[in-house]
Symmetry: D2
Subunit: 255 residues, 4 copies
Amino acid sequence: MAKSKFEYVKQFESEDKLLPNCWIVVRIDGKGFHRFSDVHNYIKPNDDRALDLMSKAAETVMEEFKDIVLAYGQSDEYSFVFKKTTNVYNRRASKLATNVVSLFASSFVYFWPRYFGTTMMQYPPAFDSRTVLYPTDKNLRDYLSWRQADCHINNLYNTCFWKLIQEKGLTPAESQERLKGIENGDLDLSLQLHLSGSSTSRSQSARGHGRGMDSRRSPQMSRKLTRPNIDRLHVDLIGEQFWTDYPDILNPPKR
Amino acid sequence: MAKSKFEYVKQFESEDKLLPNCWIVVRIDGKGFHRFSDVHNYIKPNDDRALDLMSKAAETVMEEFKDIVLAYGQSDEYSFVFKKTTNVYNRRASKLATNVVSLFASSFVYFWPRYFGTTMMQYPPAFDSRTVLYPTDKNLRDYLSWRQADCHINNLYNTCFWKLIQEKGLTPAESQERLKGIENGDLDLSLQLHLSGSSTSRSQSARGHGRGMDSRRSPQMSRKLTRPNIDRLHVDLIGEQFWTDYPDILNPPKR
Amino acid sequence: MAKSKFEYVKQFESEDKLLPNCWIVVRIDGKGFHRFSDVHNYIKPNDDRALDLMSKAAETVMEEFKDIVLAYGQSDEYSFVFKKTTNVYNRRASKLATNVVSLFASSFVYFWPRYFGTTMMQYPPAFDSRTVLYPTDKNLRDYLSWRQADCHINNLYNTCFWKLIQEKGLTPAESQERLKGIENGDLDLSLQLHLSGSSTSRSQSARGHGRGMDSRRSPQMSRKLTRPNIDRLHVDLIGEQFWTDYPDILNPPKR
Amino acid sequence: MAKSKFEYVKQFESEDKLLPNCWIVVRIDGKGFHRFSDVHNYIKPNDDRALDLMSKAAETVMEEFKDIVLAYGQSDEYSFVFKKTTNVYNRRASKLATNVVSLFASSFVYFWPRYFGTTMMQYPPAFDSRTVLYPTDKNLRDYLSWRQADCHINNLYNTCFWKLIQEKGLTPAESQERLKGIENGDLDLSLQLHLSGSSTSRSQSARGHGRGMDSRRSPQMSRKLTRPNIDRLHVDLIGEQFWTDYPDILNPPKR
C-alpha cells in the first residue's frame, strides 16, 4: 500500500516486550463492581450466578490462549498464568493484557443471559488488566497463594458481615462496628481453620492441560468438568497437594 | 486487613506512568475481524450496522472517560484522544489501555442487538489496545491524519475491489489482479480527489466537549447528535477546517 | 562470525528508546561528594578549582556530543540538554546516560591536575546519571529554572553557614542551629535579591552553538570563552533575557 | 528547604526498577576503542597492560559494590553480576548502570599510569553500560558462556590475523583475505581445542566472595590474588569445573 507523509507518527509507539523465561500473570479486575453487584442484586455474600459467569468468561479466554496453564479467580478478579516459554504476541505486555481483558469483558456480556436468565444487564461493565512477571515457580505459587489468602480473608469477613445483617438483624454500620475487633485479631488462625474446613468461599481455579492428560485429575477435587481440556476446581492452592496432583502445570509438556 | 506472608509478590508489579504534558492516544483494534465480519455476513465494502455499533461502543467509552476530547474510528479500529493534562488513573498506561478496551468490548456485545436485530452474535470478539504519546498538537494531528489517510486508501481499494466483483462479475482473485497496477499507482492523487469529493468511506469521528458548548458545532458537518455532549461527525481531519471549527479540542477549557 | 548456542541470551536485553520530539536532559550527579570534597580539602563554600574542573569535564562531553545545545551545572551536578530532534544512539536512554556520565567521569580525572596542581586525587569518584524527557520549551526552561533556583537556595544557605563559621567563629552545629529560622523563612525573597545582585553562587552554564555564531554572544554575560563553539557563562536562566539573547538554543539551526 | 514553583518538573522523571529475584548483569563496553588502542599503541593482538588496567578498574567497582558476585571481562568490555537479592539503589536500572560505568571510567584514567608508565593518555575514553536481567542460574551461566565464547572466537581470529602480519609479512588486507575461509569453517572445533589448550586469549574473571572463604579457591586456576576478597582468574566459565569449585557464586552466603 502507498504510504502517507504522516507515517512517521508510528515511531512514537514504544516496545513493551516482557522478559523471557518468566511466568506471565495477567490479572483482570472489575471496575466499580460494588455498584455493579448492587444494581444487579447480586446475592450476598457470594452469588453463584456471578461467580459461574466469571469462570465461563475465564474459560473462553483459556480456550483462545492455549498457553495459559492456570487461571484463578475470586470475586470480580481473575488471574491468568501463561507458561514461561510462551511467545504469544511476541510477549508484548500491552497485547497480552488487552486481548485477555477485552475477550473476558465481551464474554462476560455474551454469556450473561445463560447465568442471569431474565435479569437484564443494566449497563456494560469495564475491567482493568495488568501483566506481572514471576521468575521462579516459588514466586508464582506465592502469587497464587497471595490471591487465595486474600480471597479467604475477604470471604471470612463478608460471610460474618452478612450473617450479622441477615440473621441477627444488624444494620450494615452495626455489623461493621461489631467486626472491628476481629479484623485486627488473629485472622491467620481463622484462615487456617477455614482452609481445612469446608469452603464457604468461592475461589475459582480453572486449569488447562495437554490432550489426554485428564486421567491424572483427582476427581474429588474437581467440581465440574466443562470440556475435555479445562477443569473447574474449588481447591486449596496454598498447600502442596494441588501442585503434587498437577505436576504438568509448572512443567507444561513441550508441544 | 491482615496481610499474608505472600504479600511480597506485589513488588513484582511495575510502574508504567506516562510522561506528563503529552497527548495520550488509546487505539483499539479488532482481533481477527476479517473472520468475524465473514461469520456475521457484514455487507461489503462497508456495513453501516457494524460501523454504527463501533461508534456506539466508542461513545460509551467517551461517556465514561470525560477527559477524552476526540475519538476517531474506521473499520474495526478506534482511537481515543485524552487531553494532555489528564490525570485519569494517574496516567498509568496499562490502566488506560485496559479500561478503555474492556468497556469498548463489553459495549460492542451489549449494543449488538440494537444494530444487528435478529442476527445473533456467534462468539464474543476480542480487541487489542495500546497507548501512544504525542508531545505536540502537530504530532497529534498527524497521527489522526495518518489514520484517516489509511482509512481512505483502504476504502478506495475496497470499494473498487467489491465493485468489480459485485457489478462486473469478477472473482475475488481476478479483482485483486486487476487492481494491482492501481495499488502501485498514484494513490495520493486519488486520495486528494477522494477527500474533496463525496465520501464513500466511513471513517467515524466522535467528539466530546464541555457543557453548553455545542453552539459552536457546525451543524452541516455533523451526521447525528447522540446526546448533548457528543457529536458524531463524518469529516475530513486532514485539512484545517475541522480544527478551526473546533478550537476547544486542542485547547480544552479548564474545569 | 560464527554464532554460539548461547546467543539466545541476547533476547533478554530490553529496548529503551525515548519518545521522539521531546527535549532530552541527561543529568549527572556526584556520588558521595560530601566526602570527596572533604578528603580533597575543597574550599568552602565554593571551590573555583572544583567548579572549573566540572565545567571542563562538561565541555569535553559537549565536544563529543554535538547535539547538546546547553549544559548547566552547579556543585557536583551537571545537566546536558540534547535537542529535540537528536537521533544520537537512536535515542536509547541507557546509551545516552552512560556514555555521557562515563566521559564526564573520565574527563574529571583526566583534567584534575590542570586545576588541582600538586593536590593528588585520593580515589576515583563515581557519578550517577539519568535521562528525563521534556515535551515543551516551557517544561525545559522550568527544569533549568528548577536547578538554578535550587543552586541559589543552597548557595545562600552555604554562604551564610560558612561565614558564621569562618568569620564569627561558630561551630558547624551552632551555625546550623542559627540558620534554622532562616531556612524556614522567606527564602524566595532572598532569592530574588540574590539573583539581581552580584552572584556569589557558582552555577555554570556552558552552551554550544553552530560555527561562526559567537558574534551574537553578549560579552558581559560570558565569563570566559574556552573555544570557538562553546561559551562558559554565569548567567540567570530563570528570567527572559538569556533566552532572548540566545534564540538558537530552543530553535537550533538545522544542519 | 523551600521549594520553588518549578518543582513540578520532577514528575517527568520515570521509574525504572528492575524485576526482583533475577540476576542483574551490568555490562560496560568501550566506545571507539579501536581508535583508542591505535592512538595508544596497544600491543596486538593482546596488550597485557590494557587488560590489567581493565581488571584493575573492574576491581575498584567490585570493592565499591559488595553485591557483585562475579565480574567477567575481555577486550574493552566487562560484565558485572549482582546477586539476585541485591537491593542496591533499590534496583533502579539507570542508577546501577551509571554508577558502575562512571566509576569504571574514572578508575581507568586514575590507574592508567600504574600500567602504562610514561605513556601518556591522549584523551579521556567513554564507555557505555546496560543492565540485563537473567531469571535463572542457567540463563546467567549461558550469558557468561556467550561472552567467553565470543572472546575465544575473536581471540582465535585476532591471533591468526596478527601472526600472518607480524610473522609472515602479510598486509592487513591480505591477512583478512587469507582468513576468510577459516572464518566460515569449523570454529567450534577450534574453540574446543583452544579451551582445553593453553590460553592465548585474555578473558578476565574477577570474583568476590565472603570473608575467609578463599581456602576453597583452586590455586592453579588463579593467576594472581589482588586482595583478600577478590580473585583474578583466567579460567573456563563454559564448563562445569568453575561452578563446582565456587558454589557460593550462584548461592551467595546470606549476610
